[in-house]
Every structure is written in structure tokens, then in C-alpha cells.
Amino acid sequence: MRSGHGGQRQDPRRDDQATAAAPPGRPGGREPARNAIAAAVAEAHRREWAFVLAATARVTRDLDAAEECVQDAYVAALDAWARQGVPRNPGAWLTTAARHRALDTLRRDRTLRTKLPLLIVPDQTSGELDETGVEGSDVIADDRLRLIFTCCHPAIAREAQVALTLRLVCGLSTAEIAKAFVVSEPTMAARVTRAKKKISAARIAYRVPEAAELPDRLDAVLTVIHLLFTTGHTDPHGAGLLRPELVERSIALARLLRALMPDEPEVCGLLALLLVTDARRATRTDERGGLQLLENQDRSLWDRAAIAEGGRLVIDALRGGRPGRFALQAAIAAVHAEAPSYADTDWPQLLVLYDRLLRAWTSPVVALNRAVVTSMVDGPAAALEEIATLEQDGRLDGYRYLPATKADLLRRLGRCPEARQSYENALALTENDAERAFLEGRIAEMAALGPGPAAG
């Protein structure tokens, strides 16, 4: 992750900023050069979209208008960079171009402005442009945190927070987001439009929360990124188990947040969690796309570099007392990832971590995962008691991993008919094809074994 966009401002109308890539001022650029420019613009779209949009929104004080100006700037870049070469700092070039466009539009349309209230931008001074479009200082402020916290404001519904983050922070099109979440494009468009309208009409301020509210607000941001990751990691409906695009976007977002908030342990914990979990990506399915359980995964195929980076981040995240839920989840994932084999995993250490996690975050899903660890420390029978408590609790009704976990414990105890029934209960709740195939296999296995003790 590059640091900052400081340095000198780059004016898109000046030719002398050009660097290599295409020879400046030579008309009718050859095709390979064209392709290189298109690739540079696409790269800038992936890397700089959030930076450019966040800075432009502070000028337009309207998210829709900002999006239009930024899109125009990217289109303009295709031509300008072909003529002048790719600028040294594409983000700054695009920001200046988008802000000039915004300023022009503001001047022209002053009377045509929408009736909706303008985005509330506290601490406006540093973002004001004078009439020449030059900012007070030479540095374009990094507004990406404002943008991220605005997209994930608690007054916006979670699914809309997710959609807005992909649209505004990642620059994905509505069609791409709709596809990722398996909803129709008009549905997703309506969701995004409604959320943007609420930001403006309800006056959700375009700002980073103050220290007192930061923990809660940050948790919402981390939850959104984590949700993106898990959605990409286990497609709840489709045939495949993975949607790599969402996984990569979520990791990029976590990296961005880590660069912008280096002192927040939970940000560190989230990035670690995503890296260590994704390090096992190659082994989560077998060659036919079937589900591969942790105990059967080929650990030599895990991404050791990602695990090592995650491990270092976990240490940072746990530093400074009272670790949060992402730091602890990351620590748990790291214990699994660093174990030489399933059998040689440090299960007692995991039990300690799960108990700390339950204190930080009383979630029945965490309690369910703890039961699996209990089964490895104290045996499946002890774990079944924890499962019974969760069944009575009721909050996990309809959650497919509850009957699936129970089935596995019963299978290990050799209670095949009961195990089969639980596998069938899990199957009834599962839509993902890979997971269904796995459960059907277990059901057949249980039917074949019939009642009686089994090795486990």
C-alpha cells in the first residue's frame, strides 16, 4: 500500500507532467500504447477510485454529482494520458480533473441544483477550492475515511451499507454488485439510490467519527468488510464455493483501512483474519469442487506468506490489552493455520481463545465453534452438551451449521441413525451445491454403517 498522495499537485492541462509510457505529443498513438494507457486507467480505477471520489465529494457536497465528475475524469484520462503520458501520480491527476469538472458544473448549474440538502461536510476549510480550482494547500486531503464511515453509518441498513461501500469506495458498478449478491440490478439500484438519498436528506455528516463514538462506528465498518469477505468466501446459493472478486475487494478494503488507521488493533485483527482465512483458499474444495473439511485439507498448499503476514498482524492486534472480536478470531484462525496437522493443533489454546472471544462477543455462532474445540479437548460427548444448550437457546434455529456440527459429533460417537437425521436436517437448510454434496455423502455413509459403534 502506497502511503499518501502528498507531493505536488498535478494539473491535467499541463503537458510537462508526463512521464514515460507514451511519448508526449505524438498524435495517433499506436495500438500497443493505447492498450498500455487503457491498462493504466483501469489500474488507476482499481487503486485510486476511493481517493478521487472521496476528495471530489467534499467539493460537490453531493455523492451523485461527485460520481459523475469522477467517471468523467476517468474518461478524460484515456485521451489525456495517451497524449501526455501517464502522470507520476494518477490519483492526484484524476482528483484535480474531477474537481475542476465539479467546479465547472457548480458554476453552470448553480440555479439548477437539486432540492435535496447538500452533504454536510464539517471542517470544510481544508477542502475548499478557490475560483481557480486550486486548494488552499498543495496537498489534497485524504478523505477516504470520511467516505468509508459515511457508507457504513449505523442509520443505514446493513445490506445498504455493503452496497454503498462497494459502489462508492470500491467503484463497482451497480450491475456488478447486483451479481455478487444475487439480486436483480433494479433492486440493487434502488437500494443504492435510497441509501444515497438518506445520506443527503437525513444529513448524515461526511466525517470521521469522534473518539467517543469511534469504537462502535469502526465496528460497523469492520463488520461490512467482513460480511463482504464471507459472502465471497461461501456463496450461499450458487454452485461455486468462492467468489474471488468479493474476497479480493474485501482484503483490499481491510488493507486500505489498516493504512489509514494504523493504530487500531481491531483493524489489524480484521486484516489478519481475512489473510489467514483466505490463505487456505486453494484447499477448501477438492478437484471436483466438493467441500474439503479442515481436517482433510492439504496444508502444504496453504499460502505460507499470507499466514506469516497474518501471524505478525495478530501479534499487533493482541497488543495493548482487551483484544476485540476480530483480533481474537484472527488469533484462532492463526492457531489453526500454524498447526502442522489437524491432530497436532493446539486445541487447549483454542479453548482459551474461544472463551475470551465469548466474553468480548456473546454470539451463539462462536459458542457453536467452541463446541467443536471442546470435542477435541474433552471428547464429542462433552461437546454434545454444549450443542443441546444452543438448541434450547433458539437463536441458531435455521442455521445449517448447528445440525451439521451435531451430526458430526454423533457420527464420531458411532450414533449413526441420529447422525444421519442431523445431517438430513442440515441438508434441508443448505442451498450451496458444494455443501449439499458433502452432506449427501455423509448421509449415504451413515445409512451404510447403520446403528452400532464406529471409529471416530
Partner: protein
Amino acid sequence: MAQYAILIYEAESGYAGGGEAAWQQAMEAHGRFAGQVGERGGKITGGDALEPTATATSIRGDIVTDGPFVETKEALGGFYLIEARDLDHAIEIAKLCPAPYGGVEVRPVMDTSGG
């Protein structure tokens, strides 16, 4: 500063069951709330308590019916109009608004002045 409405939704049975004491307590709580809004940098510009929904009359077109427009367990029982910096500030204020038998809804007031 922007204008917001704080709409108070409560189960009317709460006050009916609590009698005079419940009402007295609520009045005192609202008195304290008025002071807190100012301390937090906001301003109350209007508001009132409403008589219970049993006194309501609803009109749709030409049809006049006895009762509230929508029957709900928690009914609109009062409102404030406030000025706040932004939604976060309005929510901070609304969290202080007494509503022991329900909760409140914050709605931005539309700017109809044009421009």
C-alpha cells in the same frame, strides 16, 4: 443547523396502567430533557403531547372513521421539533428523549424553502 422531528411512539397502556404517578414522572422527565437539549448544543423549536388514540378521528377521502389512521401497539403520542447539526447530533439528542413505554423515531424535516 438542520431541523428534525422526534416522534414519540409508546404503548398507551403504559400510562393508563401507571396512573397519575406515571404521568407525573413523564412530565418531569420531559422537563429535564428540554434542559439537556440546550446543554448538548441543540434547540427545541416546537412540540407537544397528543391525547390518546381513542380520541382520534381518521379521514380518507370522504370517509370519516373513529380511531387512529393505523392501529399499532405503540402509537404516536407526542413529538418535538429540534435543530441539530447533523443526523448524529439529532440521534444523540433523541436518545435522551423520554419514552419509557416505547421509543422514538427521528425524521429530517423537509426544506421546502426552495433553492
